[in-house]
């Protein structure tokens, strides 16, 4: 469980996040949605500690992250897995070495155990055949899979995904979404996904936070989106003709 209480963040005079409070539950796919520039990436980076927040509190299972020093945060970070927008795989390492990297850095596993764990993670995301290839030699969708495999290598309690299906075709995007949802349930992780993809919202949005101009504008689940009276959310969700038609038919 991750809880945010009145989180504020500004860059100079620009208030990017204002009084954001929410409770992200374990075992569910929690989504942060909003238009480009609404502050969702800043919020995600604030939650994981890549940005220092100006005011407010962030709790990881009742452990306050905001007041921790570097070494305390380091312990929490070892419980985090992150899938970056571009994958952020290490170019100089093969697929297998990328997944093995967190194990080499933090685990006390033997060589055999590490090999087994890497094999399990690659198998889980269905990319074992590419284990000897470098990131530049595989497709965008495969890179996302490897990034997921690396993120789950240390069996994290918290999984963060920054636009995990951006740049992917709709079929691969849905596969990646489903994979994240399955892994979340399988390992009972608290997963937070940052997206503006409406297909993801409808497919896997068990809990959704809608941010508009740095403010929490709406909170709910995918089933409630169609009935919302919130104008800014309606404008965001039904921006495309496809979703307008779906709403009419419903």
């Amino acid at each position: 469980m991750i809880e945010l209480k009145k989180v504020n963040k500004s860059f100079g005079d620009l208030n990017v996040l204002q009084d954001i409070s929410i409770h992200f539950e374990a075992g569910k796919t929690n989504l942060i949605i909003g238009q480009s520039g609404s502050g969702k990436t800043v919020l995600l980076k604030s939650i994981i500690g890549l940005h220092e927040i100006d005011d407010g509190h962030i709790f990881y299972d009742d452990r306050e992250f905001t007041n921790m020093d570097f070494n305390e945060k380091k312990l929490i970070r070892k419980e985090m897995g992150m899938v970056f927008q571009g994958g952020a795989l290490f170019d100089s390492l093969t697929v297998e070495e990328n997944v093995r990297f967190p194990l080499d850095m933090f685990s006390e596993m033997s060589e055999d155990e590490k090999r087994e764990r890497v094999s399990f993670c690659l198998d889980r995301v269905d990319i074992k055949k590419a284990d000897k290839l470098y990131p530049a030699e595989i497709s965008g969708g495969m890179q996302k899979r490897v990034a997921i495999a690396r993120a789950i290598a240390l069996n994290p309690r918290y999984l963060f995904c920054d636009e995990p299906n951006s740049g992917l075709d709709p079929v691969t995007a849905i596969l990646i979404d489903k994979l994240i949802q399955e892994i979340t349930k399988e390992f009972n992780m608290t997963t937070i996904i940052n997206t503006h993809d409406m297909n993801s919202v409808m497919e896997i949005g068990e809990k959704i936070l809608f941010i508009n101009k740095g403010l929490k504008a709406w909170e709910g689940c995918s089933d409630e989106i169609f009935d919302t009276e919130n104008q800014s959310l309606n404008n965001f969700v039904f921006a495309s003709n496809l979703f307008k038609k779906i709403k009419k038919k419903l």
Partner: protein, 246 residues
Amino acid sequence: MGFIEKIGQYMLFLNRVFSKPERGRVFFSQIIKEIYKLGVNSVGIVVIISVFMGAVISLQTAYNLINPLLPDYLVGYTTRESMILEFSSTIVGLILAGKVGSNIASEIGSMRVTEQIDALEIMGINSASYLIFPKIIAAVFINPFLYVLSVFVGITGGLLASSMTKVVSIPDYLYGVQIDFIPYYITYSLIKTLVFAFIITSVPSFYGYFVSGGALEVGKASTKAVVNSSILILLANLILTQILLK
């Protein structure tokens, strides 16, 4: 960002770089990789530059020794002194600032803009220490060897050029190379080489680490890294010469 602020940021950056490595075994293997990347891969360029520098110094000295009272062995003596005191440390340092510096700045800058550094941080790894500390250790370790190689190859280049053009005999040249040798000059130049190795790795790493934006900014950071590390090498050369040869 002001000059003083930049220096402050560089100092804080170095403070992060020089922290205890996460895993000793991983750190050691990183150092070995960096020794290969920064040192072994630079042997070719150091040899080429040094052989030509040595050759040119010997020929220029020979063609300027028009006074018959000046002995021929001065060609060997001048080549040795020039290589030991200045060329093999400073000029090779400047060349490496271009080759290694741009490589480091673009490598780390690319890692920054593709979020690979963020990925390290999220894992709880001190990215500055993990990426940069091994580079500094590797360069400080390997650059003195490159210096010695450069001196040796430069003097050999001078010997080849002067003997092939017959401006001085081989025995005269070799006599000049051995005469009035002051071992402290080697110490002085090795100290300079160590300082330059630190500049060549830490300054480009700093520029690469704080890149924000995209490929264009990585290119700009790479250029800034080379220019500023070259200026710092020249400045350090002046200061160290004043302190060590006083």
